[in-house]
Symmetry: C2
Subunit: 289 residues, 2 copies
């Protein structure tokens, strides 16, 4: 059995631990800066025991599942301790800061930069669920910087959990994720804020919320300790996507203000196209599995 040490026992690390234990192929150990999370992970039974940083030397795999701002320096510390056949990979939503920070480390090739496109709006060990990664895309960035052993073992581990693997450039990854993930979170947080502000005076407003509001505001339940670091680490692309979003909202506002029904129709017709694209991708993914 290979020994896996997971650093960070929340939604991502915890869900990975659950699935790895279920395969029967790995012994799963863990640590978390938050002592309550450590105790919960033991009680929930998704790790076998707690470990210390000194025990990293014994691991076959080390997984970095902390907030993204902690990952680069943690990666260096782990690489320094890792035995030569061992592998470290992260699960962060941003890849370029990690790739840049570790690029000149002598053991860089033992690191694999991983981002599973999976999650929920909940956080902490109690949010960890089984099969979170099944049939989901898992991105590996800069695979050419990882050695053959590290890359093959990491891919095997993720395929054991039912994930689909795709390689990407780290800068491209961070840019695209700003649009299809990070921007969604900001739009949802700010929608929640806008409605909460009016709701201070008008308690009953939430009673009127239908499934549409619930759907668009779902991500506003996400954890600040996860998302503040993502917004700051991916600052450049998030500011760009946010500027484009605010520009589009401002233009749309102007069309409403000027009663331009034809232009509103035309823009919304274009937007409807998003449904066809998402349906096409869902179909393709189902056919592949």
């Amino acid at each position: 059995m290979e020994q896996v040490i997971i650093i960070g026992l929340g939604l991502m690390g915890g869900s990975l631990a659950r699935d790895l234990k279920k395969t029967g192929k790995y012994s799963v150990l863990g640590m978390d800066k938050n002592n309550k999370h450590q105790q919960l992970a033991l009680e929930l039974g998704f790790i076998d025991e707690l470990v210390h940083m000194e025990q990293i030397t014994e691991a076959d795999f080390v997984v970095l599942a902390t907030p993204v701002n902690a990952i680069p320096s943690l990666a260096l510390e782990v690489l320094n301790r890792l035995h030569e056949e061992a592998v470290v990979f992260d699960m962060g939503s941003i890849k370029n800061p990690l790739c840049k920070y570790t690029q000149s480390h002598p053991k860089r090739s033992q690191l694999v930069a991983v981002h599973p496109i999976a999650g929920t709006e909940y956080s902490g060990p109690t949010a960890a669920i089984e099969n979170l990664f099944r049939n989901k895309l898992t991105i590996i960035c800069e695979p050419e910087l990882s050695n053959k052993n590290a890359l093959e073992k990491t891919i095997e581990l993720w395929k054991n959990l039912g994930a689909r693997i795709q390689f990407m450039n780290a800068v491209e990854h961070d840019k695209h994720l700003a649009y299809v993930s990070h921007l969604s979170h900001i739009s949802s947080f700010m929608l929640g804020k806008t409605v909460l502000e009016i709701e201070n005076d008008e308690r009953q407003i939430f009673n009127l919320a239908g499934s549409g509001f619930e759907s668009t505001v779902r991500l506003a339940k996400s954890a600040p300790q996860t998302w503040a670091p993502i917004f700051l680490e991916n600052q450049q692309y998030i500011l760009k996507s946010l500027d484009e979003y605010i520009y589009n909202l401002t233009q749309f506002r102007s069309l409403i203000y000027h009663n331009d029904e034809q232009a509103l129709h035309s823009i919304m017709n274009q937007c409807n196209h998003v449904g066809e694209i998402l349906a096409g991708i869902a179909l393709k993914n189902n056919q592949e599995h």
Copy 2:
């Protein structure tokens, strides 16, 4: 059996027709400006036959289920033809323009202003589904302007479909719906637009979209012919909510730009509160039924 004539056979009118037929208490007739919709409604079997405006005189109930901009003038036309025991109600998402437009009609008391808080992102007769209104809130505005017979019969009809009834002032209704429904649609349409614009150059971007993006962009599939009129009819409150939303986005952008992690945390913590409120309401609704 009471005779119901539904004008507008799309998602809302069609779903109502399906449920009314199922009760066995109503014969359901219909009409739609779009001849394809009329044929589809007959083929799908949710209306018994097509009728003309002249046949309104025979109806016990007339339902206005068209886009909101057509409702006020249609209400006058129907009131003019209605027999004195009959009732007309609408299903529009905006209530004040209808209430104002009809206020001095001699038969105003035969009209009930109804808004069921239910729907999906799909449209047209094929989008009509059973049980759309079950356990959902249905708002009746300005009930004091409807006569006892009209109000009681309308409430009975909606309760037969499993709806919960709440009375509201029409202006308050339109203001609140701007925040908890109309703003969500605009935020979702513009999120779709922003991502589609970058996607023109980068085809693969949608492959990276997770469930979070799908959730926030779901409403961007909604029909322009339904939503353009809503945005224009509820212009005043939508502009206000949109200004507040854009202001909040701009402030949040500034905090990211200035690396103010503490302020980002604090704002997102406040936003997390939206989850507790929605969970509380869901619990209350379940307990009531």
